[in-house]
Amino acid sequence: MAYPAKLRVWRGDATSGELQDFEVEANEGEVVLDLIHRLQATQTPDLAVRWNCKAGKCGSCSAEVNGRPRLLCMTRMSIFDEDEIITVTPMRTFPVIRDLVPDVSYNYEKAREIPSFTPPEGLEPGEYRMQQVDVERSQEFRKCIECFLCQDTCHVIRDHEENKEAFAGPRYLMRVAELEMHPLDVADRVDAVQDAQGLGYCNITKCCTEVCPESIHITDNALIPMKERVADRRYDPIVWLGNKIFKRNGA
């Protein structure tokens, strides 16, 4: 049944802002984004919010609800008590543009720094052969809808602006893992993931995995295996010794 829900929404821009309280009608089956839209249509026509698909597929409506990173379109009102105040704020890790819309350009910059898919030379289109079991590892990571909630929650950059330069964040460390696990990719990103993407900053607290709306096992399936690959290459004493003696290329 319809009831008046209590919404507390952050409004402002890069210079200043504040939490504002609203009472908005909520109906059966609705999600927080529905209420934000009703707020726009009835009380605050210029309230800024990003959204697209409203079905959890595009990753546009990322924000924080009661402090937790969430997709507004997948946050059911029914998880809250009817008299509970629901606080909606923009993702904190990125600079705010206006209201619930942050500047997420950091992510697009990091994406550009990862060496792209590199197929074997001479393999023609139509000749690609891969087994399902082999593509599934990377397919899990390609479920990513780039909502950037994992980036938002990651404590390496959440309150440490200074780490942003050296750290690509879980989404892009996972992108490296995806390419490294692609059955046909021939490039080597193991050194770069440590030196350029800053894998060493991650201390596997699994916060990214917890907030992932696609339930991707970011830490277990992407970050830890990448850490193991780095450790194998850099810190395995036998490999180290072998490298010293034989001066292997690429190590």
């Binding site: 597929k57 595009c58 994406a111 052969r129």
Partner: protein, 637 residues
Amino acid sequence: MTEVERHNYDVVVIGAGGAGLRAVIEARQRGLSVAVVCKSLFGKAHTVMAEGGCAASMGNANSHDNWQVHFRDTMRGGKFLNNWRMAELHAKEAPDRVWELETYGALFDRTADGRISQRNFGGHTYPRLAHVGDRTGLELIRTMQQKIVSLQQEDHRRYGDYEAKLKVFAECTVTELVKEDGRVAGAFGYWRESGRFVLFETPAVVLATGGIGKSFKVTSNSWEYTGDGHALALRAGAGLINMEFVQFHPTGMVWPPSVKGILVTEGVRGDGGVLKNAEGERFMFRYIPDVFKGQYADSEEEADRWYTDQEGNRRTPDLLPRDEVARAINTEVKEGRGSPHGGMFLDIASRLPTEEIRKRLPSMYHQFRELADVDITAEPMEVGPTCHYVMGGIEVDPDTAASTVPGLFAAGECSGGMHGSNRLGGNSLSDLLVFGRRAGLGAAEYVESLDARPSVSEADVTAGATHALAPFDGPDDGGGEENPYTLHTELQQTMNELVGIIRKADEIEKAIDRLAEIRGRIRRVTVEGNRQYNPGWHLAVDLRNMLLVSECVARAALRRTESRGGHTRDDFPQLDAQWRNRLLVCAAADDQPVPAVDVEVKEQPPMRRDLLELFELSELEKYYTEDELAGHPERTA
């Protein structure tokens, strides 16, 4: 003088969905400088919503498949109104476009021997859709997004700047195309973030803006689908064809109300799911139309055998083309056999083991669990028709994607002709790739052929700015103000109720009257706040495009006095062979910001003989007039 940020590019692509990105890749690989402008963040375009797959007759799942079979299926799906040259190019080139994506890094699901797996879909004779579970669109968009990043990395190595030759202008809306001497000279718009104006000086624009679904209340489309490309082209002097054909996808969610319209992939039926009414009857067997008699199973037993033996059995009518299934559901509900929330039941739970459902349809499982508290592995889904796709769009040359306006190209959903009166599922993603590439190529060749570049006049820039800012000023006569959200809701109601899945002359006329009234009120739309990321203003600007395309749909729908594909007239319920070859072309009647719409009839050129011969005469007789078939070899022999 209006303060405006200026950029100069060889080609500007508007829209960053599948078609836009493929056009960008092609034009950049031809050596040109390219800008891609999109209303959302990069990688969020509506293509991510495509679930089932991308149709291409690679023959991996059934070696009998080839381009001729795909071509025939496409023409049948569109009830022979398709631009046959587009359907031919599409069927021939789709496999190459899919294989190409693998070289960009795409990871499709695999067959046992390691090739790309292909799934069944409505209207496709063989399993034909390359797919990744039920998130194929996401794979396409991400793959091409990442290909664009790799092209930028090449530019970075060569020029020291990622954006030297290819730049993404995200959250930027184009509101005007600017011409000089009848040719495209630029595109004018604003940054959503700041509200500041931006001008692209360019001799070639590729429109890849998608569809018009936001003109309807129940739709699977996102806010971006406001017919921008359709409207820009119309205002620039291009024609829109087939605007009366709007596809209502048979299976959208119907409950809860806030998710009504969200898509349920056809892959559910392709993988074995069946439609049932409230009495538990698999009703689709009663709805096989005459033109498809003999091609579909007429018993449940045969239909069920077909999933494992396609040579000895005919396919289930659950997989008839979308227009047929949507109409059938509509009738069942109307006759009182609907589900509790006014839809039909779609049952996969009793057809496949739990694990298999979760593996093949992960996002459907997730979507129903999260949004409707329904476990699709245990209970049926409730589904009903939702506005999904517009077959109509900008009239283009099939080979080059050029519109009638020099320098203006279009690809994907905003172009028209390819799908005729009804699109087959899976033919959209392949359409984006085939014609996205052709548009990129067409634009590149056009630019290379130019001796001199057109220039943008200052007057056009000023006019564009004035037009865009009008909603801040309010009505110039001091009269009552209109709220863009309210007006949008009224427009959606009008289209949904009066020009929806089933149409009648008096209802369409009523819709045209209401649209005229909205047209009067749209001038009074007033927005609050400033220009910085202001959704009320953005809607006010987009609303004009929605109104314009709605008028095109309504006026064309009134003219076409027959039922075909995505256009069903209650007062003219039959297919009329006299209409098969006639296109309705919408054109702007004046140069107002929201121009009046003229509709004219135009005949399509007859199908090339070698293509016509791919069909049995007995099938053509169901669609063609006697005169048209007089010269058919089977008749003259």
